[in-house]
């Protein structure tokens, strides 16, 4: 069981995390941050294994992972 915390102020909406998540935990949200960027958010929260793949690919270090 894992958990991801995404810092919307850092997220640039590149969606790489979505691409690499094996559990499809992450989805684009309709929330935009201070820059007007639609940020990513965890959706299927329970699915997260805490594998950290999303965090490892995030160019903006917007993701923290807990396990």
């Amino acid at each position: 069981m894992g958990k991801v915390v995404i810092n919307p102020a850092r997220c640039k909406g590149c969606k790489l995390c979505i691409e690499v998540c094996p559990r499809n935990v992450l989805v684009p949200s309709s929330k935009n941050n201070h820059l007007g960027i639609y940020v990513v958010e965890p959706k299927k929260v329970g699915e997260c294994t805490g594998c950290s793949r999303c965090a490892m690919i995030c160019p903006d270090v917007a993701i923290e992972v807990y396990r």
Binding site: G2, A9, K12, V20, D60, I63, Y66
Partner: protein, 243 residues
């Protein structure tokens, strides 16, 4: 629950100016993590390039110096000559390292300067708006090659890691890619080896990192990573060319 992934000490918690999906961000993180894992932050000096990473001093919590475009290896040589115990690394783009500054690179490498070079090969000049780099692929359309890079005119892309591998002063030369998780992990290992080589006083170490520039490749970040995997690594094979 325990935090299993978070920001490392040396990476400042700040917004970067990079485009969404830019490889510089990943590379910055890996360098910072390696420095922290090796415990050398307090004796490390970084040299920022002139390129998209020109503002690197805002991102790494390290002593950092600027260098004119292409000259980081010369600046590093000067620095290292003052205090050989400092860990000195440069972080350079393909325009910086392989075009204007290739002479400084080759000569520092040939001298076997005990420094580490992180070489971000994104096959483009990002900073100045997407012009051809020495590593631009043949056929690749850029601001200065509107019909694609023409091998007749510009020759083949330069293979930095291989070329430097031929120099005896180079102790470690490897090409890695930020194309997916396994390769990102390999990239970190390569960077660690490079720094370790410097700590061991072995001479010049370089890691060539194939890195996405979605903006000037005119691709989405996801497409950009696929481009590295499919097209770029065909021309720039990954591997260790000197160890």
């Amino acid at each position: 629950m325990k935090k299993v992934f978070g920001r490392t000490r040396t990476l400042r918690d700040t917004h970067t100016h990079y485009c969404p999906g830019c490889g510089h961000g990943i590379a910055h993180r890996l360098v910072a993590e390696v420095i922290d894992e090796l415990g050398i932050r307090e004796r490390t000096i970084g040299i920022a390039p002139v390129g998209c990473a020109v503002l690197a001093y805002y991102y790494w919590d390290l002593d950092i110096c600027e260098a004119p475009h292409g000259r980081p290896p010369a600046v590093a040589t000067g620095m290292k000559s003052v205090n050989p115990k400092n860990i000195v690394f440069t972080y350079q783009g393909d325009g910086d390292l392989a075009a204007i500054g290739f002479n400084e690179t080759i000569h520092a490498a040939n001298r076997g300067e005990n420094i580490t070079v992180i070489f971000i090969n994104n096959a483009i000049y990002g900073m100045t708006g997407g012009q051809m780099a020495p590593t631009t692929l043949c056929g690749q359309v850029t601001a200065t090659t509107p019909s694609g890079r023409n091998a007749e005119r510009y020759g083949q892309p330069i293979h930095v890691a291989e070329l430097l591998g031929h120099l005896p002063g180079v102790t470690f030369s490897s090409r890695v890619a930020l194309s997916d998780i396994p390769n990102i992990m390999k990239t970190k290992q390569a960077i660690k080896k490079a720094f370790q080589a410097q700590m061991d006083g072995k001479g010049f170490s370089i890691v060539e990192v194939l890195s996405p520039c979605p903006t000037y490749w005119r691709k989405t970040p996801v497409e950009a990573l696929k481009f590295i995997k499919k097209d770029m690594t065909k021309i720039f094979p990954l591997g260790v060319f000197k160890e």
